[in-house]
Symmetry: C2
């Protein structure tokens, strides 16, 4: 089964631990592709699990990850990365010798380190993955089958990782409509610190700073589409993003330093009335954005 191409992929039992936007959409996409027989969802809150069953996101729900993963063909850990060590430690003793494990975490070096430590002998069937898709919404009711269509999924297999495990995970994501890209884990973390984690810190910080003001309500009442788009991702799960920021602290703080330096250049130019310096910065930004969007239509 694990070597089957995407169009004939059939996963017998899929276990999704953390039935949120990513885990729920993975399940829905595989069900829609007729690539899975049975999906068991594991979660912390009964309310979310009940919603997931009611909405047809999963077939059945469980609060016990260890018993759920028994005889699974594939396990997706879709929790915030901060919970992954505990989840891995819980499921490791119950994992079968054929079960393939993957994750949906936004950082890879830390998740790989956890897996190496907590999955033990099963590490060779763990395929580190990061689907580049998401919205600012969370929970099972935010899930939808098309989330991964034409999106990249990064895989960061290790030297120990079995080819058959990579093939299964690749086939599953391809059945969801995604494209597979392989990246070194360290490079992955640097890249996503820049294009995802930093923008989230920027958006959360702006919204937090405005919220602290006594006139926040008046200010926001006057805002337009510009602010709305700039802070859209500040609607994302605080827990998930706290974990990501802490997991990727090295790359992220380095980029935050670069960003604050750039803001300081803007601030000085504004304060000193340096029109040329401001023009240079704004034009560089505008031109880079145009070139990027030409290559990568929205």
């Amino acid at each position: 089964m694990s070597a089957a191409p995407a169009d004939t992929l059939k996963i017998g039992k899929l276990v999704v631990i953390g039935v949120g936007l990513i885990g729920g959409s993975f399940s829905l996409a595989l069900k829609q592709a007729n690539a899975v027989e049975r999906v068991v969802g594991v979660g912390r809150t009964q309310k979310n699990l009940d919603a997931a069953v009611r909405l047809g996101v999963i077939h059945e729900a469980s609060r016990d990850a260890a018993s759920a993963v028994r005889d699974a063909d594939l396990v997706l850990i879709g929790t915030p990365v901060g919970q992954m060590p505990e989840v891995m430690a819980q499921i490791a003793p119950a994992l079968g010798a054929r079960t393939v494990i993957t994750d949906g975490g936004s950082t890879k070096q830390d998740v790989i380190a956890y897996a190496r430590r907590f999955l033990g002998e099963h590490f060779e069937r763990f395929v580190p993955a990061h689907p580049i898709a998401g919205t600012e919404k969370s929970g099972a009711d935010a899930a939808f089958a098309e989330l991964f269509r034409d999106r990249n999924v990064i895989l960061a297999p290790q030297t120990e990782t079995k080819a058959s495990a990579v093939t299964l995970v690749r086939s599953a994501w391809e059945a969801c409509g995604a494209r597979i890209v392989c990246l070194d884990a360290r490079r992955h973390d640097e890249i996503f610190a820049a294009v995802s984690h930093l923008p989230h810190v920027i958006a959360f910080s702006l919204m937090s700073m405005l919220a602290k003001r006594s006139d926040a309500e008046t200010l926001l009442g006057h805002s337009g589409a510009g602010l709305r788009d700039t802070v859209r991702i500040a609607g994302s799960s605080p827990e998930m993003w706290r974990d990501i920021c802490l997991a990727n602290r090295e790359a992220l703080t380095e980029l935050l330093d670069d960003y604050m330096e750039e803001l300081e250049i803007a601030r000085s130019a504004i304060l000193n009335g340096d029109a040329a310096a401001l023009s240079e910065m704004f034009e560089r930004a505008r031109d880079a954005r145009s070139r990027w969007l030409l290559k990568k239509p929205a």
Copy 2:
């Protein structure tokens, strides 16, 4: 004419100086509402003016603001705010005794100071205005008649401003489908420093910093919808935003300081692994955004 309600408003001759997104859309909206007979567009580049005529944004084009404004009923100065002193000085000697003048500038204290200085006796017929609408696009070909529908237009009339002039400008914006809100000019500049000018500096700075990196193309190739939305407004006109930032430097640098302080709190929390501090900030941001969007649907 000037006291007529929006549904019977008829402006004989409208002159739009700066036929870009704002000026062009104002013209199109008034034409669509059948509230104007003739629109003369004034601009710096023949190419944009030719496009404006070809696209039906204006009836005729002129490169000479002074001769264009003769016998106008209403003049909208839709240029970047940095050009307004020169435009005002040019048109002042040619303005008739009934002509009402307004603007579309994103800052109000500086525009009012320019108008007071350069419009002379015509200052009593100058109505400072700021339509809260826009996209990241610029130029006549970006203009569309619906831009101002259900949007706020801020008016900041001064003690000298004639009521009849305010009534005409109000009626014109209402004919474009906009709502009128009156604000003190200083308060206006504070509010928009927070909800518009600061987000633009944030977006331009992020895009500029990424563009400076030697691996910018690789980074951007991996980006998703999060970065795309966060930097959408970095596609805005560099010249326009340079002028706005310099015009509103006092309020803006104060807010930039607050923002950089907030980023520093985030940076310290990440560096020190302070999960509680990060959670507090991200939750404050997420909650404030939710409350705001509940009141103000997108």
